[in-house]
Protein backbone atom coordinates (compact mmCIF):
# COMPACT_ATOMS: atom_id res chain seq x y z
CA UNK A 1 0.00 0.00 0.00
CA UNK A 2 1.09 3.52 -0.85
CA UNK A 3 1.23 6.49 1.57
CA UNK A 4 -0.53 8.63 -1.05
CA UNK A 5 -3.70 6.57 -0.53
CA UNK A 6 -3.88 7.86 3.07
CA UNK A 7 -4.29 11.43 1.76
CA UNK A 8 -6.32 10.50 -1.30
CA UNK A 9 -9.02 8.82 0.79
CA UNK A 10 -9.39 11.81 3.10
CA UNK A 11 -9.38 14.27 0.17
CA UNK A 12 -12.08 12.19 -1.58
CA UNK A 13 -14.38 11.94 1.40
CA UNK A 14 -13.74 15.22 3.24
CA UNK A 15 -12.15 17.66 0.76
CA UNK A 16 -12.99 20.74 2.83
CA UNK A 17 -11.70 19.53 6.16
CA UNK A 18 -8.65 21.52 7.25
CA UNK A 19 -5.49 19.41 7.09
CA UNK A 20 -2.88 21.99 8.08
CA UNK A 21 -3.56 25.16 10.03
CA UNK A 22 -2.06 28.40 8.75
CA UNK A 23 -2.56 32.05 9.55
CA UNK A 24 -4.55 32.52 6.30
CA UNK A 25 -7.24 30.00 7.22
CA UNK A 26 -5.51 26.70 6.65
CA UNK A 27 -4.96 24.15 3.91
CA UNK A 28 -7.83 21.73 3.32
CA UNK A 29 -7.39 18.04 2.55
CA UNK A 30 -8.52 18.69 -1.03
CA UNK A 31 -6.06 21.56 -1.43
CA UNK A 32 -3.23 19.55 0.13
CA UNK A 33 -3.87 16.73 -2.35
CA UNK A 34 -3.89 19.22 -5.23
CA UNK A 35 -0.60 20.73 -4.02
CA UNK A 36 0.96 17.29 -3.72
CA UNK A 37 -0.21 16.48 -7.28
CA UNK A 38 1.29 19.71 -8.62
CA UNK A 39 4.55 19.09 -6.80
CA UNK A 40 4.62 15.47 -7.98
CA UNK A 41 4.21 16.53 -11.62
CA UNK A 42 7.21 18.82 -11.17
CA UNK A 43 9.23 16.18 -9.30
CA UNK A 44 8.59 13.66 -12.07
CA UNK A 45 10.64 15.92 -14.37
CA UNK A 46 13.60 16.02 -11.95
CA UNK A 47 16.52 13.62 -11.88
CA UNK A 48 17.17 11.37 -8.91
CA UNK A 49 15.22 8.77 -6.99
CA UNK A 50 15.05 10.80 -3.76
CA UNK A 51 13.43 14.03 -2.65
CA UNK A 52 15.64 15.60 0.01
CA UNK A 53 13.84 18.02 2.34
CA UNK A 54 16.02 20.43 4.25
CA UNK A 55 13.94 22.91 6.14
CA UNK A 56 11.60 23.74 8.98
CA UNK A 57 8.27 22.03 9.38
CA UNK A 58 5.19 23.74 7.96
CA UNK A 59 2.48 23.20 5.32
CA UNK A 60 5.13 22.44 2.66
CA UNK A 61 6.23 19.34 4.61
CA UNK A 62 3.13 17.15 4.11
CA UNK A 63 2.86 18.39 0.51
CA UNK A 64 6.46 17.33 -0.17
CA UNK A 65 6.15 14.03 1.70
CA UNK A 66 3.05 12.91 -0.25
CA UNK A 67 4.34 14.34 -3.54
CA UNK A 68 7.56 12.34 -3.23
CA UNK A 69 5.62 9.07 -3.00
CA UNK A 70 3.30 10.11 -5.80
CA UNK A 71 6.30 10.80 -8.04
CA UNK A 72 7.97 7.53 -7.02
CA UNK A 73 10.81 9.13 -5.09
CA UNK A 74 11.93 8.31 -1.55
CA UNK A 75 11.50 11.19 0.92
CA UNK A 76 14.77 12.02 2.68
CA UNK A 77 14.52 14.82 5.26
CA UNK A 78 17.83 16.11 6.62
CA UNK A 79 18.72 17.56 9.99
CA UNK A 80 19.29 21.29 9.54
CA UNK A 81 20.80 21.54 13.02
CA UNK A 82 23.88 19.59 12.01
CA UNK A 83 27.10 21.53 11.54
CA UNK A 84 27.64 22.44 7.85
CA UNK A 85 30.33 19.79 7.34
CA UNK A 86 28.14 16.94 8.57
CA UNK A 87 25.12 18.28 6.71
CA UNK A 88 26.98 18.41 3.41
CA UNK A 89 28.28 14.89 3.96
CA UNK A 90 24.73 13.58 4.43
CA UNK A 91 23.49 15.55 1.43
CA UNK A 92 26.19 13.96 -0.74
CA UNK A 93 25.05 10.51 0.43
CA UNK A 94 21.57 11.14 -1.02
CA UNK A 95 22.75 11.38 -4.66
CA UNK A 96 21.06 11.05 -7.09
CA UNK A 97 18.48 13.38 -5.65
CA UNK A 98 16.51 16.61 -5.91
CA UNK A 99 16.79 18.69 -2.75
CA UNK A 100 14.16 21.18 -1.61
CA UNK A 101 15.94 23.59 0.73
CA UNK A 102 14.66 26.48 2.83
CA UNK A 103 15.79 29.62 0.98
CA UNK A 104 17.83 30.86 3.92
CA UNK A 105 19.65 27.51 4.26
CA UNK A 106 20.87 27.32 0.65
CA UNK A 107 24.03 29.25 1.55
CA UNK A 108 25.13 26.46 3.88
CA UNK A 109 25.33 23.87 1.12
CA UNK A 110 28.16 22.94 -1.21
CA UNK A 111 27.52 21.62 -4.70
CA UNK A 112 27.41 17.83 -4.62
CA UNK A 113 27.52 15.58 -7.70
CA UNK A 114 24.10 14.15 -8.53
CA UNK A 115 22.24 16.52 -6.19
CA UNK A 116 20.02 19.26 -7.68
CA UNK A 117 19.12 22.09 -5.31
CA UNK A 118 15.74 23.86 -5.41
CA UNK A 119 14.70 26.64 -3.05
CA UNK A 120 11.58 26.00 -0.97
CA UNK A 121 9.92 29.08 -2.46
CA UNK A 122 10.20 27.48 -5.90
CA UNK A 123 8.76 24.22 -4.58
CA UNK A 124 5.83 26.09 -3.03
CA UNK A 125 5.16 27.83 -6.36
CA UNK A 126 5.10 24.43 -8.11
CA UNK A 127 2.50 23.24 -5.58
CA UNK A 128 0.22 26.09 -6.73
CA UNK A 129 0.95 25.97 -10.48
CA UNK A 130 -2.40 25.26 -12.22
CA UNK A 131 -0.78 23.50 -15.21
CA UNK A 132 1.17 21.13 -12.99
CA UNK A 133 -1.86 20.47 -10.77
CA UNK A 134 -3.87 19.42 -13.84
CA UNK A 135 -1.08 17.29 -15.33
CA UNK A 136 -1.57 13.56 -15.79
CA UNK A 137 0.68 11.59 -13.44
CA UNK A 138 2.29 8.31 -14.41
CA UNK A 139 1.18 5.38 -12.28
CA UNK A 140 4.16 4.44 -10.13
CA UNK A 141 4.42 1.73 -7.50
CA UNK A 142 7.40 2.81 -5.42
CA UNK A 143 8.68 0.60 -2.66
CA UNK A 144 10.82 2.86 -0.48
CA UNK A 145 8.89 5.73 1.10
CA UNK A 146 11.42 7.31 3.42
CA UNK A 147 15.16 7.40 3.97
CA UNK A 148 15.82 8.79 7.40
CA UNK A 149 19.21 9.36 8.93
CA UNK A 150 19.25 8.16 12.52
CA UNK A 151 20.36 10.68 15.11
CA UNK A 152 23.70 8.97 15.53
CA UNK A 153 23.89 9.19 19.31
CA UNK A 154 26.25 6.22 19.27
CA UNK A 155 28.17 6.91 16.06
CA UNK A 156 27.83 7.87 12.36
CA UNK A 157 24.21 8.46 11.27
CA UNK A 158 22.73 5.40 9.57
CA UNK A 159 20.32 5.76 6.64
CA UNK A 160 17.23 3.88 7.78
CA UNK A 161 14.88 2.71 5.04
CA UNK A 162 11.11 2.75 5.60
CA UNK A 163 8.93 1.19 2.92
CA UNK A 164 5.46 2.34 1.97
CA UNK A 165 4.13 -0.94 3.36
CA UNK A 166 5.77 -0.34 6.79
CA UNK A 167 4.30 3.15 7.17
CA UNK A 168 0.82 2.40 5.85
CA UNK A 169 0.49 -0.73 7.95
CA UNK A 170 1.40 1.30 11.04
CA UNK A 171 -1.16 3.97 10.22
CA UNK A 172 -4.13 1.85 9.21
CA UNK A 173 -3.72 -0.51 12.14
CA UNK A 174 -3.41 2.21 14.80
CA UNK A 175 -5.53 5.10 13.47
CA UNK A 176 -9.26 5.14 12.73
CA UNK A 177 -9.86 6.70 9.29
CA UNK A 178 -11.28 10.22 9.93
CA UNK A 179 -11.79 9.19 13.53
CA UNK A 180 -10.90 12.61 14.97
CA UNK A 181 -13.59 15.07 15.97
CA UNK A 182 -13.82 18.06 13.67
CA UNK A 183 -12.42 20.44 16.31
CA UNK A 184 -9.31 18.37 17.00
CA UNK A 185 -5.90 19.87 16.29
CA UNK A 186 -2.43 18.52 16.96
CA UNK A 187 0.54 20.75 17.72
CA UNK A 188 3.59 19.33 15.99
CA UNK A 189 6.93 20.75 17.07
CA UNK A 190 8.93 17.71 15.98
CA UNK A 191 11.20 18.51 13.04
CA UNK A 192 10.67 16.87 9.62
CA UNK A 193 13.77 14.69 10.03
CA UNK A 194 12.42 12.92 13.13
CA UNK A 195 10.37 9.78 12.54
CA UNK A 196 7.69 11.10 14.91
CA UNK A 197 7.40 14.20 12.73
CA UNK A 198 6.67 12.02 9.69
CA UNK A 199 4.38 9.64 11.57
CA UNK A 200 2.44 12.70 12.77
CA UNK A 201 1.80 13.73 9.15
CA UNK A 202 0.39 10.35 8.17
CA UNK A 203 -1.57 9.67 11.37
CA UNK A 204 -3.09 13.16 11.47
CA UNK A 205 -4.05 13.28 7.79
CA UNK A 206 -5.60 9.78 7.88
CA UNK A 207 -7.30 10.44 11.21
CA UNK A 208 -8.66 13.82 10.06
CA UNK A 209 -6.87 15.84 12.72
CA UNK A 210 -5.72 19.35 11.82
CA UNK A 211 -1.96 19.89 12.13
CA UNK A 212 -0.66 23.12 13.70
CA UNK A 213 3.06 23.40 13.01
CA UNK A 214 5.56 25.07 15.29
CA UNK A 215 8.76 25.43 13.23
CA UNK A 216 11.05 26.39 16.11
CA UNK A 217 10.31 25.27 19.63
CA UNK A 218 10.27 27.80 22.42
CA UNK A 219 8.00 27.25 25.42
CA UNK A 220 6.47 30.71 24.90
CA UNK A 221 5.52 30.05 21.28
CA UNK A 222 4.32 26.54 22.08
CA UNK A 223 1.90 27.74 24.74
CA UNK A 224 0.73 30.65 22.57
CA UNK A 225 0.10 28.42 19.54
CA UNK A 226 -1.71 25.85 21.68
CA UNK A 227 -4.10 28.58 22.79
CA UNK A 228 -4.50 30.27 19.37
CA UNK A 229 -5.26 26.99 17.55
CA UNK A 230 -7.24 25.47 20.42
CA UNK A 231 -4.87 22.52 20.30
CA UNK A 232 -6.31 19.24 21.59
CA UNK A 233 -3.35 16.92 20.96
CA UNK A 234 0.39 17.33 21.16
CA UNK A 235 3.59 15.41 21.26
CA UNK A 236 6.70 16.50 23.13
CA UNK A 237 10.10 15.23 24.19
CA UNK A 238 10.78 15.28 27.95
CA UNK A 239 12.99 18.37 27.89
CA UNK A 240 10.21 20.32 26.16
CA UNK A 241 7.62 19.26 28.74
CA UNK A 242 9.51 20.72 31.70
CA UNK A 243 9.92 24.08 29.94
CA UNK A 244 6.26 24.13 28.91
CA UNK A 245 5.16 23.52 32.51
CA UNK A 246 7.41 26.37 33.69
CA UNK A 247 5.90 28.70 31.09
CA UNK A 248 2.35 27.74 32.09
CA UNK A 249 3.16 28.35 35.72
CA UNK A 250 4.54 31.78 34.87
CA UNK A 251 1.38 32.68 32.91
CA UNK A 252 -1.01 31.01 35.34
CA UNK A 253 -2.53 28.99 32.47
CA UNK A 254 -3.50 25.34 32.16
CA UNK A 255 -4.10 24.57 28.45
CA UNK A 256 -7.88 24.13 28.76
CA UNK A 257 -8.34 22.71 25.24
CA UNK A 258 -5.62 20.09 25.49
CA UNK A 259 -6.89 16.49 25.80
CA UNK A 260 -3.99 14.25 24.82
CA UNK A 261 -0.31 14.80 25.41
CA UNK A 262 2.09 12.19 24.10
CA UNK A 263 5.73 12.16 25.05
CA UNK A 264 8.72 10.09 24.02
CA UNK A 265 12.16 10.25 22.48
CA UNK A 266 14.06 10.11 25.73
CA UNK A 267 13.92 9.10 29.34
CA UNK A 268 11.19 10.96 31.25
CA UNK A 269 12.32 11.84 34.77
CA UNK A 270 9.69 10.56 37.20
CA UNK A 271 9.36 13.84 39.17
CA UNK A 272 8.64 15.67 35.89
CA UNK A 273 5.82 13.37 34.77
CA UNK A 274 4.34 13.44 38.26
CA UNK A 275 4.36 17.23 38.15
CA UNK A 276 2.75 17.20 34.69
CA UNK A 277 0.00 14.85 35.84
CA UNK A 278 -0.71 17.12 38.80
CA UNK A 279 -0.53 20.42 36.85
CA UNK A 280 -2.63 19.17 33.93
CA UNK A 281 -5.19 16.92 35.57
CA UNK A 282 -7.64 17.16 32.64
CA UNK A 283 -5.09 15.84 30.11
CA UNK A 284 -4.62 12.21 29.01
CA UNK A 285 -0.92 11.36 28.96
CA UNK A 286 0.65 8.74 26.73
CA UNK A 287 4.26 7.66 26.71
CA UNK A 288 5.22 6.39 23.28
CA UNK A 289 8.33 4.32 22.64
CA UNK A 290 9.52 3.72 19.14
CA UNK A 291 12.47 3.80 16.81
CA UNK A 292 13.10 5.22 13.38
CA UNK A 293 13.57 1.65 12.18
CA UNK A 294 10.11 0.61 13.42
CA UNK A 295 8.08 3.42 11.74
CA UNK A 296 7.66 5.14 15.11
CA UNK A 297 5.64 3.84 18.08
CA UNK A 298 5.91 0.20 19.18
CA UNK A 299 4.82 0.48 22.83
CA UNK A 300 2.48 2.88 24.62
CA UNK A 301 1.84 3.69 28.26
CA UNK A 302 -1.71 5.01 28.05
CA UNK A 303 -3.71 7.50 30.12
CA UNK A 304 -5.31 4.83 32.32
CA UNK A 305 -1.89 3.32 33.02
CA UNK A 306 -0.65 6.74 34.13
CA UNK A 307 -3.57 7.31 36.48
CA UNK A 308 -3.43 3.80 37.92
CA UNK A 309 0.31 4.09 38.55
CA UNK A 310 0.08 7.46 40.28
CA UNK A 311 -2.84 6.36 42.46
CA UNK A 312 -1.32 3.02 43.46
CA UNK A 313 0.38 2.27 46.75
CA UNK A 314 1.81 -0.95 45.25
CA UNK A 315 5.41 -0.18 44.22
CA UNK A 316 5.17 -2.71 41.37
CA UNK A 317 2.32 -0.71 39.83
CA UNK A 318 3.63 2.71 40.78
CA UNK A 319 6.96 2.10 39.03
CA UNK A 320 5.09 1.62 35.74
CA UNK A 321 5.09 5.40 35.47
CA UNK A 322 8.72 4.86 34.51
CA UNK A 323 7.86 2.22 31.91
CA UNK A 324 6.96 2.71 28.25
CA UNK A 325 3.79 0.67 28.65
CA UNK A 326 2.82 -2.35 26.67
CA UNK A 327 3.70 -3.33 23.08
CA UNK A 328 1.11 -2.49 20.40
CA UNK A 329 -1.28 -5.41 19.89
CA UNK A 330 -0.31 -5.44 16.21
CA UNK A 331 3.25 -6.58 16.83
CA UNK A 332 5.31 -9.07 18.84
CA UNK A 333 8.01 -8.10 21.34
CA UNK A 334 10.55 -10.26 23.16
CA UNK A 335 13.48 -9.76 25.50
CA UNK A 336 16.44 -11.92 24.51
CA UNK A 337 19.72 -12.82 26.16
CA UNK A 338 23.19 -12.78 24.60
CA UNK A 339 22.69 -16.25 23.07
CA UNK A 340 19.39 -15.20 21.52
CA UNK A 341 17.33 -17.05 24.14
CA UNK A 342 13.97 -15.54 25.11
CA UNK A 343 14.14 -14.24 28.69
CA UNK A 344 11.37 -14.44 31.31
CA UNK A 345 9.70 -11.40 32.94
CA UNK A 346 12.08 -9.41 35.14
CA UNK A 347 15.20 -10.39 33.22
CA UNK A 348 17.04 -7.67 31.31
CA UNK A 349 18.17 -8.20 27.73
CA UNK A 350 17.91 -6.86 24.21
CA UNK A 351 14.47 -5.84 22.93
CA UNK A 352 13.39 -7.64 19.74
CA UNK A 353 10.27 -6.73 17.73
CA UNK A 354 8.44 -8.22 14.80
CA UNK A 355 5.52 -6.83 12.78
CA UNK A 356 4.48 -5.23 9.50
CA UNK A 357 5.56 -1.76 10.62
CA UNK A 358 9.08 -2.95 11.48
CA UNK A 359 11.48 -2.04 8.67
CA UNK A 360 14.78 -2.87 10.38
CA UNK A 361 16.75 -1.98 7.34
CA UNK A 362 19.43 0.52 6.35
CA UNK A 363 20.62 1.49 2.92
CA UNK A 364 22.69 -1.43 1.66
CA UNK A 365 22.25 -3.35 4.94
CA UNK A 366 19.38 -5.37 6.36
CA UNK A 367 19.41 -5.81 10.12
CA UNK A 368 16.06 -7.52 10.36
CA UNK A 369 16.33 -11.32 10.56
CA UNK A 370 14.90 -13.65 7.94
CA UNK A 371 12.18 -14.65 10.40
CA UNK A 372 11.12 -10.99 10.71
CA UNK A 373 12.59 -10.26 14.15
CA UNK A 374 14.48 -6.99 14.54
CA UNK A 375 17.08 -6.49 17.28
CA UNK A 376 16.53 -2.91 18.46
CA UNK A 377 19.90 -2.45 20.20
CA UNK A 378 17.83 -1.19 23.14
CA UNK A 379 18.09 -2.90 26.48
CA UNK A 380 15.05 -3.52 28.66
CA UNK A 381 12.84 -5.91 30.59
CA UNK A 382 9.16 -6.76 30.95
CA UNK A 383 7.24 -6.99 34.22
CA UNK A 384 4.73 -9.75 34.98
CA UNK A 385 1.93 -7.83 33.25
CA UNK A 386 3.95 -7.13 30.13
CA UNK A 387 4.94 -3.51 30.83
CA UNK A 388 8.21 -2.67 29.15
CA UNK A 389 10.99 -0.91 31.04
CA UNK A 390 13.85 0.61 29.04
CA UNK A 391 17.41 0.57 30.29
CA UNK A 392 18.97 2.51 27.42
CA UNK A 393 20.97 1.61 24.36
CA UNK A 394 22.88 -1.66 24.61
CA UNK A 395 26.03 0.32 23.85
CA UNK A 396 25.37 2.49 26.91
CA UNK A 397 25.12 -0.43 29.31
CA UNK A 398 28.12 -0.44 31.62
CA UNK A 399 29.73 -3.82 32.17
CA UNK A 400 31.61 -3.66 35.46
CA UNK A 401 33.28 -6.87 36.57
CA UNK A 402 30.73 -8.89 34.60
CA UNK A 403 27.74 -7.03 36.06
CA UNK A 404 25.44 -5.16 33.64
CA UNK A 405 24.68 -1.69 34.95
CA UNK A 406 22.13 0.64 33.36
CA UNK A 407 23.06 4.32 33.39
CA UNK A 408 19.40 5.45 33.40
CA UNK A 409 18.66 4.04 36.81
CA UNK A 410 21.66 5.77 38.38
CA UNK A 411 20.87 9.04 36.58
CA UNK A 412 17.34 8.95 38.00
CA UNK A 413 18.67 8.54 41.54
CA UNK A 414 21.16 11.38 41.04
CA UNK A 415 18.52 13.71 39.58
CA UNK A 416 16.35 13.07 42.63
CA UNK A 417 19.03 14.68 44.84
CA UNK A 418 17.82 18.16 45.86
CA UNK A 419 21.06 19.84 44.72
CA UNK A 420 21.37 18.11 41.36
CA UNK A 421 19.66 19.58 38.33
CA UNK A 422 20.89 17.06 35.74
CA UNK A 423 23.14 14.02 35.56
CA UNK A 424 24.78 11.76 32.99
CA UNK A 425 26.19 8.32 33.81
CA UNK A 426 28.33 6.14 31.55
CA UNK A 427 31.18 3.64 31.61
CA UNK A 428 34.88 4.41 31.35
CA UNK A 429 37.58 1.82 30.66
CA UNK A 430 39.03 0.41 33.87
CA UNK A 431 42.04 -1.87 34.29
CA UNK A 432 40.61 -3.72 37.23
CA UNK A 433 36.89 -3.99 36.35
CA UNK A 434 36.81 -3.69 32.58
CA UNK A 435 34.60 -0.64 33.00
CA UNK A 436 33.83 1.66 35.89
CA UNK A 437 30.86 3.95 36.47
CA UNK A 438 31.39 7.66 35.81
CA UNK A 439 28.99 10.52 36.48
CA UNK A 440 28.82 14.09 35.20
CA UNK A 441 26.72 16.34 37.40
CA UNK A 442 25.02 19.65 36.71
CA UNK A 443 24.59 21.13 40.18
CA UNK A 444 21.38 22.87 41.16
CA UNK A 445 21.35 25.40 43.96
CA UNK A 446 24.36 24.61 46.12
CA UNK A 447 26.98 22.22 44.82
CA UNK A 448 26.96 18.77 46.38
CA UNK A 449 30.32 17.03 46.89
CA UNK A 450 31.29 13.76 45.22
CA UNK A 451 31.33 12.11 48.67
CA UNK A 452 27.80 13.28 49.41
CA UNK A 453 26.52 12.01 46.06
CA UNK A 454 28.34 8.68 46.43
CA UNK A 455 26.59 8.12 49.74
CA UNK A 456 23.26 9.14 48.16
CA UNK A 457 23.56 6.54 45.39
CA UNK A 458 24.96 3.80 47.62
CA UNK A 459 22.06 4.19 50.01
CA UNK A 460 19.49 3.80 47.21
CA UNK A 461 21.15 1.33 44.84
CA UNK A 462 24.28 -0.54 45.76
CA UNK A 463 27.99 0.03 45.89
CA UNK A 464 28.77 -1.49 42.47
CA UNK A 465 26.38 1.03 40.93
CA UNK A 466 27.97 3.97 42.72
CA UNK A 467 29.99 6.18 40.35
CA UNK A 468 33.71 6.15 40.98
CA UNK A 469 34.57 9.06 38.71
CA UNK A 470 32.85 12.42 39.11
CA UNK A 471 32.82 15.57 37.07
CA UNK A 472 30.81 18.76 37.53
CA UNK A 473 29.59 20.98 34.65
CA UNK A 474 27.19 23.76 33.83
CA UNK A 475 25.30 21.79 31.18
CA UNK A 476 25.15 18.39 29.49
CA UNK A 477 25.30 17.84 25.74
CA UNK A 478 21.90 16.93 24.25
CA UNK A 479 20.99 16.63 20.61
CA UNK A 480 18.08 18.77 19.43
CA UNK A 481 15.50 16.04 19.98
CA UNK A 482 16.48 15.75 23.62
CA UNK A 483 18.77 12.73 23.53
CA UNK A 484 21.68 12.81 25.95
CA UNK A 485 24.98 12.46 24.08
CA UNK A 486 26.89 10.25 26.52
CA UNK A 487 29.53 9.40 23.94
CA UNK A 488 30.76 13.01 23.92
CA UNK A 489 31.18 13.06 27.69
CA UNK A 490 32.74 9.62 27.58
CA UNK A 491 35.36 10.74 25.07
CA UNK A 492 36.15 13.88 27.06
CA UNK A 493 36.40 12.14 30.40
CA UNK A 494 38.43 9.32 28.97
CA UNK A 495 41.22 11.90 28.48
CA UNK A 496 41.17 13.29 31.99
CA UNK A 497 39.52 10.70 34.21
CA UNK A 498 42.68 9.38 35.87
CA UNK A 499 43.05 12.76 37.56
CA UNK A 500 39.53 12.99 38.91
CA UNK A 501 39.06 9.49 40.22
CA UNK A 502 37.77 9.98 43.69
CA UNK A 503 37.77 6.67 45.48
Amino acid sequence: MHTWLLLEMGADAFPDRIAVASPDGGVSLGELAARARGAAAWLAQQDGDKLVFLGLNGPALPAAFFAAGLAGKAFAPLNYRLPNDDLNKLLARTAPSIAVVDDDMLGRLEAAPGVTLAPRSLFEAKCLDPKLRAAELADVQPDIAVILFTSGTTGEPKAAVLRHSNLTSYVISTVEFMGADEDEAILVAMPPYHVAGLAAVLSSIYGGRRIAYLPNFTPQDWVSLAAAERVTNAMVVPTMLGRILDELEKRGERLPFLRHLAYGGGRMPQPLIERALADLEHVDFANAYGLTETSSTIAVLGPEDHRAAVASGDPNIRRRLGSVGRPLPTLELEIRGPEGEVLPPGAQGEIYVRGDQVAGEYMHRRVIRDDGWFPTNDSGWLDEEGYLFLEGRLDDIIVRGGENISPGEIEDVLRSHPNVSDAAVFGLPDEEWGERVAAVIVPGEGCPSAEELSAWVKERLRSTKTPETWDFREALPYNDTGKLLRRILKAELHQTSSKTRSR
Binding site: M1, H2, L5, E8, M9, D12, A13, D139, Q141, H164, S165, T168, S169, I172, S173, T174, V175, E176, F177, M178, G179, I186, A196, A199, A200, S203, Y206, N233, M235, H260, A262, G264, D284, A286, A288, S296, T297, V300, G302, P303, L328, P329, T330
Partner: protein, 102 residues
Protein backbone atom coordinates in the same frame (compact mmCIF):
# COMPACT_ATOMS: atom_id res chain seq x y z
CA UNK B 1 -6.48 -13.40 -9.31
CA UNK B 2 -3.12 -11.88 -8.29
CA UNK B 3 -4.01 -10.24 -4.97
CA UNK B 4 -0.69 -8.52 -4.26
CA UNK B 5 -0.34 -6.26 -1.20
CA UNK B 6 -1.14 -2.70 -2.28
CA UNK B 7 -3.11 -3.77 -5.37
CA UNK B 8 -6.40 -1.94 -5.85
CA UNK B 9 -9.70 -3.51 -6.92
CA UNK B 10 -13.10 -2.11 -7.76
CA UNK B 11 -16.54 -3.54 -7.49
CA UNK B 12 -18.40 -4.63 -10.62
CA UNK B 13 -21.73 -3.69 -9.06
CA UNK B 14 -21.22 -0.61 -6.90
CA UNK B 15 -18.83 2.26 -6.08
CA UNK B 16 -16.71 0.22 -3.65
CA UNK B 17 -12.93 0.07 -4.07
CA UNK B 18 -10.56 -1.90 -1.87
CA UNK B 19 -6.79 -2.13 -1.45
CA UNK B 20 -5.17 -5.39 -0.44
CA UNK B 21 -3.41 -4.91 2.90
CA UNK B 22 -2.45 -8.54 3.45
CA UNK B 23 -2.51 -11.11 0.65
CA UNK B 24 -4.28 -14.46 1.01
CA UNK B 25 -2.19 -17.56 1.74
CA UNK B 26 -3.88 -19.42 -1.12
CA UNK B 27 -5.32 -18.20 -4.41
CA UNK B 28 -8.87 -16.90 -3.94
CA UNK B 29 -11.44 -14.92 -5.90
CA UNK B 30 -12.11 -11.52 -4.34
CA UNK B 31 -15.70 -10.45 -4.82
CA UNK B 32 -17.99 -7.54 -4.04
CA UNK B 33 -21.74 -7.81 -4.07
CA UNK B 34 -21.30 -11.45 -5.02
CA UNK B 35 -19.30 -10.78 -8.23
CA UNK B 36 -15.54 -10.88 -8.83
CA UNK B 37 -13.88 -7.49 -8.41
CA UNK B 38 -11.93 -5.91 -11.29
CA UNK B 39 -8.41 -4.49 -11.14
CA UNK B 40 -8.53 -0.71 -10.62
CA UNK B 41 -7.41 0.23 -14.12
CA UNK B 42 -9.29 -2.53 -15.97
CA UNK B 43 -12.78 -2.47 -17.49
CA UNK B 44 -15.53 -3.91 -15.36
CA UNK B 45 -18.35 -6.06 -16.68
CA UNK B 46 -21.68 -4.29 -17.13
CA UNK B 47 -25.25 -5.21 -16.31
CA UNK B 48 -24.52 -7.06 -13.07
CA UNK B 49 -26.49 -6.50 -9.88
CA UNK B 50 -25.74 -7.15 -6.22
CA UNK B 51 -26.49 -10.74 -5.24
CA UNK B 52 -28.79 -11.36 -2.28
CA UNK B 53 -26.80 -11.86 0.90
CA UNK B 54 -23.93 -9.67 -0.37
CA UNK B 55 -25.51 -6.27 0.18
CA UNK B 56 -24.32 -5.29 3.68
CA UNK B 57 -21.93 -2.75 2.13
CA UNK B 58 -18.37 -1.59 2.81
CA UNK B 59 -17.45 1.62 4.65
CA UNK B 60 -14.55 3.80 3.69
CA UNK B 61 -11.46 3.36 5.84
CA UNK B 62 -12.66 0.08 7.35
CA UNK B 63 -10.64 -3.09 7.13
CA UNK B 64 -12.16 -6.47 6.28
CA UNK B 65 -10.47 -9.83 6.71
CA UNK B 66 -10.87 -13.56 6.27
CA UNK B 67 -9.55 -15.74 9.08
CA UNK B 68 -9.18 -18.82 6.89
CA UNK B 69 -7.05 -17.41 4.07
CA UNK B 70 -5.51 -14.44 5.90
CA UNK B 71 -6.57 -11.87 3.29
CA UNK B 72 -7.19 -8.36 4.58
CA UNK B 73 -8.43 -5.41 2.55
CA UNK B 74 -8.96 -1.72 3.25
CA UNK B 75 -11.99 0.00 1.75
CA UNK B 76 -10.67 3.02 -0.18
CA UNK B 77 -14.17 3.89 -1.45
CA UNK B 78 -17.49 2.99 0.10
CA UNK B 79 -20.15 0.94 -1.68
CA UNK B 80 -23.34 -1.04 -1.19
CA UNK B 81 -21.91 -4.46 -1.99
CA UNK B 82 -20.23 -6.58 0.68
CA UNK B 83 -16.74 -8.02 0.14
CA UNK B 84 -16.24 -11.78 0.05
CA UNK B 85 -13.72 -14.40 -1.01
CA UNK B 86 -14.93 -17.58 -2.72
CA UNK B 87 -18.47 -16.68 -1.63
CA UNK B 88 -17.50 -16.26 2.04
CA UNK B 89 -18.17 -12.79 3.51
CA UNK B 90 -15.20 -10.97 5.02
CA UNK B 91 -15.37 -9.81 8.63
CA UNK B 92 -14.97 -6.20 9.78
CA UNK B 93 -11.71 -5.74 11.67
CA UNK B 94 -12.36 -3.25 14.46
CA UNK B 95 -9.65 -0.61 14.81
CA UNK B 96 -7.56 -1.17 17.91
CA UNK B 97 -8.36 1.64 20.29
CA UNK B 98 -4.94 3.14 20.96
CA UNK B 99 -4.14 6.28 22.88
CA UNK B 100 -3.12 9.03 20.49
CA UNK B 101 0.65 8.83 20.41
CA UNK B 102 1.59 10.80 17.32
Amino acid sequence: MQLKPGSRWRSAVCTAEVVVVRPPKVEVALECGGHPMAAAGADKPEGLTIQPGFSSGVSMGKRYFDEETGIEVLAAKAGQGAVSVNGRLLTLREAKALPASD
